[in-house]
C-alpha cells in the first residue's frame, strides 16, 4: 500500500469516526436534554408564593353601611357595573338596592361558588340580604381582597390558573400576535424566523418575532437570558423535544402561567393570572377584550410597554394587537374598533392594594412556623385580619399630616417620619399597619422596628399599678410638687412638669388628664417602681423593663406595635390577647394547616381597668388630648393618652374608641427633636384616622362592684353637678367613703329623688 493511500485511509477512518462520534454526541446531547427537560416539565410545579388575603367584608342585616359605601367596597374589589349580572365580579345599583354577582371565593372553611346576592339598604345601613330565589340570607362574605404574596428572594411571583380559568380569547390572541403557526409547527418555525428576519431588515420594525411560543416558554422556564448562539441551539432543541413529548394545550397552559409580564420593585410578575391582578385587580376570566389585548401586547416588553410609565406606548401596542385580532377574524372588526376607543384603565398605582408594612408583619409571624420554601413555593393561602378600608384611612391620615408638618421644617435634609398600628381590641386583630410615610415601599418598618422613647404613654401603666394597690382611687389626692430622686448610678433626677409649674394637691384623674409629671413621679414611687415595671409585663411587654425611677415618666423604648399590645390590654378590659395579623394558613388543596386562635388571658382586674379607662376618657375630654374632638364627634367617648419624649424627639398618641384602637408615632429617624408635642403631630393623625372610621363610643358597662360618683375636678371632693361648678364623674368601688365637699352632702337622698322625679317626667313627656 502506498503512503498516500494509507494516509487517505487513515483520514477516512478519522472522518468516519468523527462523524460517528458527532452523531453519538448529538444523540447524547438530545438524550441529555430530554432527560433534563421532560421530567422537569412533566412534574412541573411552579413555585407558588403564598397568597395573602385581607379580611373579607361581612354583609348582614344591621351592618352600618350605606349603599354608596358598599359600592365603594365593591370598587375596591374591582367589581364592575353591569346591567345583566351574567358574569361574576359585576353588580348593579338600583337606588338603595344592590344586586351583586359575587365571585367564587376560597375561605378558610369553604369554597363558595359564584352566586347572586341582593343587598337592600335603608337609612341606618343594610336592612336585608336575599339570594336569587328571594330567600333571606343571614350573613354573606364578599371575596377577600388579595393584598400580596410572599415571593422568594429571586422575586418570581405568580398566580397559577387552570385552562378553565383562562378566557378562550387569550390563547387565540397569543397565537395571532406571537406565533400564528403554533398549532402546526414542531417547536421551531423556520418560516417565521426567515419572515421575521426579512421584516426586520426591511422595516426595522417588529411585526412578528421569530420565536415560537414553545421557544419562549423554554427560554423562560429552563434558560437564562444570555443571547448566545449555543443557547439558541439549546433552546431550539428543547422546544422540539417538548413538542414531541407534550400536547399543544399543555404547552399553551404552561406558557400562560410562566411568562414574565411586569415588575414591581423586587417582585417579578409572572403569568397572566397575576398580571391580571397586578394591572387590573381582578381575575383573568373577568377581563374585557381591551384588557386581554393589553396583556398580550406587553408580552414583547413588559418594561418598555409599562402602562404606568409609558401609557402612550402601551395603548399604541394594545391597539395594534386589537387590529391584528380584528384582521385575523379572532374577534369581530366592530368589537376591535370599539375596544380601541376604550381608555386603558390600569389600577391607579403599582402599589394599589399592596401593603408592604403589613405583609412584613405577616411574613415575620409565619417565619416562626414555616420554612422560607414553604412560604414561597407551596401555594399556601394566608388569611389575615387586615381591613383594607382602615389601612387606606390610616395611610392617608399619616401621610397628610406629615406633608402638612413638612412645611414647618426649613431643614429639608431629613423628612419627618411616622408609623401607625390599628387593632380591633377585643380580638387582638391587627387591622392596619403603616410603617413609613412611603406606604408603598418595602423599607424600614417603623411600626415594628422603630423602638422609641414612649414618654407619657407610660403613665396609664403607673396609674393602673396605683389603682391595683387598693390605696388609690380616681379622686385620691397626690402632690404635684418638686421632687428629687437618687438614681441607681448616684445621679440626682429632678423631673419637671411640661409647663414648669407645680399644682399642689390634685386628684389622680386630673393628674393623668393633664399628664402632670411631678404628681405621677410621687405616685409611682409610692406604688414602687418594680410594681410598675411588672405591670408593663402583665399588659403584654415581652420582657420586664428595668425598674429605674425614670420608667415612671416613660424612659422606655418601644415600637408602636409593642405600645399597641400594652394599650390593647387596657381597651380589652384587662384581658391580654396576642396581637395577630394572621388568622389561618390554608394549603394549596384547601385544608387548614394552622390557625392562630383568639386567646384571652386575664392580666388585670377588669373593674380596676374600667376605673383607669374612665380616667383616660378625661384625658380627651379635659386634658392634653382635648384636640381629638376637632375631628371626633362630640358625643363619641374615646380614651387615650398623649406622649412626648424629652426634647420633643417623639410625638405619640395611643387610644381607643369602642371599635378600634390606634397608636401613632411621629419623629425623625435620626432622633433629632421635632418640636412637636403629643397633641400636635400624632394626635392629629390619630383623630383624623379615628374620625374617618365612624367611631363608636367606648361604652364598656360599669362593673357591678363599682358605682359612679361626681367629684369636683380641682379638689377631688364629692360634689353633685348642681353643687359645684366644675365636676367630673369617676368610677369607684361601691363601698368607697370619699370626702364630701362642704355644703354638698346635706341631703343627697333628696337630691337623688329630685333627679328621679325629673327623669320620670322626662319619660312621660316623650
Amino acid at each position: 500500500m502506498s503512503r498516500t493511500s494509507r494516509r487517505t485511509w487513515r483520514l477516512r477512518r478519522v472522518l468516519i469516526l468523527g462523524a460517528l462520534l458527532a452523531v453519538i454526541a448529538d444523540a447524547a446531547f438530545v438524550f441529555y436534554l430530554d432527560r433534563r427537560v421532560t421530567p422537569q416539565f412533566e412534574g412541573r410545579r411552579w413555585t407558588l408564593p403564598a397568597q395573602v388575603y385581607a379580611q373579607p367584608l361581612e354583609l348582614y342585616a344591621g351592618l352600618e353601611m350605606s349603599a354608596d359605601a358598599l359600592e365603594a367596597e365593591l370598587a375596591r374589589l374591582q367589581y364592575t357595573r353591569a346591567s345583566d349580572l351574567t358574569r361574576p365580579g359585576t353588580y348593579r345599583r338600583r337606588g338603595p338596592r344592590l344586586d351583586i354577582a359575587a365571585r367564587r371565593a376560597q375561605f378558610v372553611d369553604e369554597v363558595r361558588e359564584a352566586q347572586r346576592l341582593s343587598v337592600i339598604t335603608g337609612s341606618g345601613g343594610v336592612t336585608r340580604l336575599v339570594d336569587i330565589n328571594g330567600t333571606e340570607v343571614p350573613i354573606f362574605r364578599l371575596d377577600p381582597l388579595l393584598i400580596g404574596s410572599i415571593f422568594p428572594i429571586h422575586g418570581e411571583d405568580r398566580i397559577v390558573v387552570t385552562p378553565q380559568e383562562v378566557p378562550p380569547l387569550l390563547p387565540t390572541a397569543l397565537m395571532v400576535v406571537e406565533d400564528r403557526r403554533f398549532e402546526i409547527h414542531h417547536g421551531v418555525d423556520l418560516e417565521a424566523i426567515l419572515r421575521a428576519a426579512w421584516v426586520n431588515v426591511r422595516a426595522g420594525a417588529i411585526e412578528q418575532g421569530g420565536s415560537t411560543l414553545t421557544q419562549q416558554l423554554v427560554r423562560s422556564y429552563f434558560l437564562d437570558e444570555r443571547q448566545t448562539l449555543w443557547r439558541k441551539i439549546k433552546e431550539a432543541v428543547m422546544a422540539v423535544i417538548l413538542e414531541a413529548r407534550f400536547e399543544k394545550a399543555d404547552l399553551m397552559n404552561a406558557y400562560i402561567n410562566e411568562i414574565y409580564l411586569g415588575q414591581d420593585g423586587q417582585r417579578a410578575i409572572h403569568g397572566f393570572g397575576l398580571a391580571s391582578q397586578f394591572y387590573f385587580g381582578k381575575p383573568l376570566n373577568e377581563l374585557s377584550l381591551s384588557e386581554i389585548a393589553f396583556l398580550v401586547a406587553i408580552v414583547r416588553g413588559p418594561s418598555y410597554y409599562d402602562p404606568r410609565k409609558h401609557p402612550e406606548r402601551a395603548i399604541a401596542r394594545r391597539d395594534l394587537v386589537l387590529k391584528l385580532l380584528g384582521g385575523f377574524g379572532a374577534v369581530g372588526e366592530a368589537d376591535a374598533l370599539k375596544a380601541i376607543k376604550q381608555p386603558l384603565k390600569v389600577t391607579s398605582s403599582v402599589t394599589a392594594g399592596y401593603y408592604p408594612a403589613y405583609l412584613d408583619f405577616v411574613r415575620r409571624t409565619l417565619r416562626r412556623d414555616y420554612r422560607e420554601e414553604d412560604l414561597t413555593e407551596a401555594g399556601l393561602k394566608i388569611f389575615t385580619t387586615l381591613d383594607p378600608r382602615v389601612q387606606a384611612t390610616a395611610e392617608r391620615a399619616l401621610v397628610d399630616e406629615l406633608k402638612r408638618l413638612d412645611q414647618r421644617y426649613k431643614e429639608k435634609d431629613v423628612l419627618l417620619e411616622g408609623a401607625a398600628v390599628v387593632t380591633a381590641p377585643q380580638s387582638g386583630d391587627v387591622v392596619a399597619i403603616v410603617g413609613s410615610r412611603q406606604t408603598g415601599l418595602d423599607g424600614f418598618n417603623r411600626a415594628l422596628d422603630a423602638k422609641r422613647s414612649i414618654g407619657s404613654l407610660a403613665k396609664p401603666v403607673v396609674y393602673l399599678a396605683a389603682l391595683e394597690t387598693g390605696r388609690y382611687n380616681a379622686a385620691s389626692l397626690i402632690d404635684d410638687a418638686p421632687i428629687e430622686v437618687k438614681l441607681p448610678g448616684g445621679k440626682l433626677w429632678r423631673p419637671e412638669n411640661f409647663t414648669h409649674q407645680v399644682n399642689g394637691l390634685v386628684p389622680l384623674t386630673r393628674a393623668l388628664a393633664d399628664s402632670l409629671n411631678l404628681a405621677t413621679v410621687h405616685l409611682g414611687l409610692d406604688v414602687g417602681v418594680p410594681k410598675v415595671a411588672q405591670a408593663f409585663t402583665r399588659l403584654g411587654l415581652d420582657k420586664t423593663p428595668d425598674p429605674n425611677p425614670a420608667l415612671i415618666l416613660g424612659a422606655l423604648d418601644l415600637s408602636p406595635l409593642e405600645v399597641a399590645q400594652l394599650y390593647n390590654s387596657l381597651a380589652n378590659g384587662g384581658f391580654r390577647t396576642p396581637l395577630r395579623a394572621v388568622r389561618d394558613v390554608v394549603s394549596a388543596e384547601g385544608t387548614t394547616l394552622k390557625a392562630f386562635p383568639l386567646e384571652v388571658t386575664p392580666v388585670a382586674d377588669s373593674a380596676t381597668v374600667y376605673k383607669l379607662n374612665r380616667m383616660l376618657t378625661k384625658v380627651t375630654q379635659r386634658g392634653t388630648g382635648r384636640a381629638v374632638y376637632n375631628r371626633i364627634p362630640p358625643d363619641v367617648i374615646v380614651a387615650g393618652k398623649t406622649g412626648t419624649s424629652s426634647d420633643f424627639r417623639d410625638s405619640w398618641f395611643a387610644g381607643f374608641a369602642g371599635n378600634h384602637l390606634a397608636v401613632v408615632w411621629i419623629g425623625f429617624d435620626d432622633n433629632r427633636p421635632t418640636g412637636l408635642t403629643g397633641s400636635a403631630g400624632a394626635l392629629t393623625v390619630w383623630s383624623n384616622l379615628m374620625g374617618r372610621l365612624d367611631p363608636v363610643s367606648w361604652d364598656a358597662t360599669l362593673p357591678e362592684s363599682l358605682t359612679e360618683v361626681w367629684i369636683e375636678y380641682p379638689t377631688g371632693l364629692i360634689a353633685n353637678p348642681g353643687c359645684a361648678d366644675d365636676v367630673v364623674s369617676i368610677a369607684v368601688p361601691k363601698d368607697s367613703e370619699l370626702p364630701i365637699k362642704p355644703g354638698c352632702g346635706e341631703d343627697p337622698l333628696s337630691d337623688f329623688a329630685e333627679r328621679t322625679r325629673q327623669w320620670l317626667e322626662g319619660i312621660i313627656r316623650q
Binding site: 344591621g62 384581658f575 358605682t707 360618683v709 361626681w710 322626662g762
Partner: protein, 180 residues
C-alpha cells in the same frame, strides 16, 4: 311623701340592684356623663395647669338600666348554628373560626365569648375555656342569665382539670344567678 317612696322603689326595681350609693351619679353606666367636651378643643399642644373655668354641662338625669338580656343578632345566630354543626363534625378549628366571625360583628356580646369557650372546652383547651368564661363575665354585667352560663362554663373547665373546689364554687355562683 308617698309619691316619693313609690318613685324611689320604682327606680330601685329598675336598677335591679342594691340601694344606690347616696352619692351615685344617677346616669346609666354605658354613658360617661359629660361626654361632650365643654371647651372648644384647641389645636395646639396644651397642658392646662389651672382647672378649666367653664363647668361641664350637667347631664340629663336618667335611670339605671333594667336587667339586660343579651341576645344574638340573626347574623351571629346563623354563625353560631354553623359552628355547632362544625363541632359535631369534630372540626373545632373551623367552628372557632365561625364564632370569631360573629365576634367581629358583636365583640361585646358575652354570649359569643361563652360559645367560643365551649368550643375550647370541647377540644380540651380548658384553661382558655375558663379565660373566655371570665371574659364573658366581664361583659355580662346586669344579665344574670348570661352570667350564670359563664360561671357554668368556668365550672366545667375546672371540673375537666380535676379542680373540684373551684368547680363547686363556680357552680354555686351559676346556681345563685339562675333566674327562677
Amino acid at each position: 311623701m308617698m309619691r316619693l317612696t313609690l318613685m324611689l322603689a320604682l327606680a330601685m326595681v329598675l336598677s335591679g340592684c342594691n340601694l344606690p350609693n347616696p352619692y351615685a351619679a344617677p346616669t346609666p353606666p354605658q354613658q360617661v356623663p359629660g361626654g361632650a367636651p365643654s371647651l372648644p378643643p384647641s389645636p395646639e399642644p396644651q397642658a392646662p395647669v389651672e382647672p378649666l373655668p367653664t363647668p361641664e354641662p350637667v347631664p340629663e338625669p336618667s335611670p339605671a338600666p333594667p336587667p339586660r338580656e343579651y341576645q344574638l343578632s340573626s347574623a351571629s345566630r346563623s354563625l353560631v348554628d354553623q359552628a355547632h354543626a362544625q363541632m359535631v363534625a369534630g372540626n373545632f378549628v373551623v367552628a372557632a373560626g365561625s364564632i370569631e366571625r360573629a365576634l367581629r360583628i358583636e365583640p361585646n356580646n358575652p354570649l359569643l365569648w361563652i360559645e367560643l369557650g365551649k368550643v375550647r372546652q370541647a377540644e380540651g383547651n380548658y384553661a382558655q375555656a375558663e379565660n373566655l368564661g371570665r371574659k364573658a363575665l366581664s361583659l355580662a354585667t346586669g344579665d344574670p342569665r348570661t352570667q350564670s352560663s359563664a360561671w357554668r362554663l368556668i365550672a366545667d373547665s375546672h371540673r375537666a382539670r380535676g379542680q373540684s373546689p373551684q368547680a363547686r364554687e363556680a357552680e354555686a355562683r351559676a346556681e345563685a344567678l339562675t333566674p327562677r
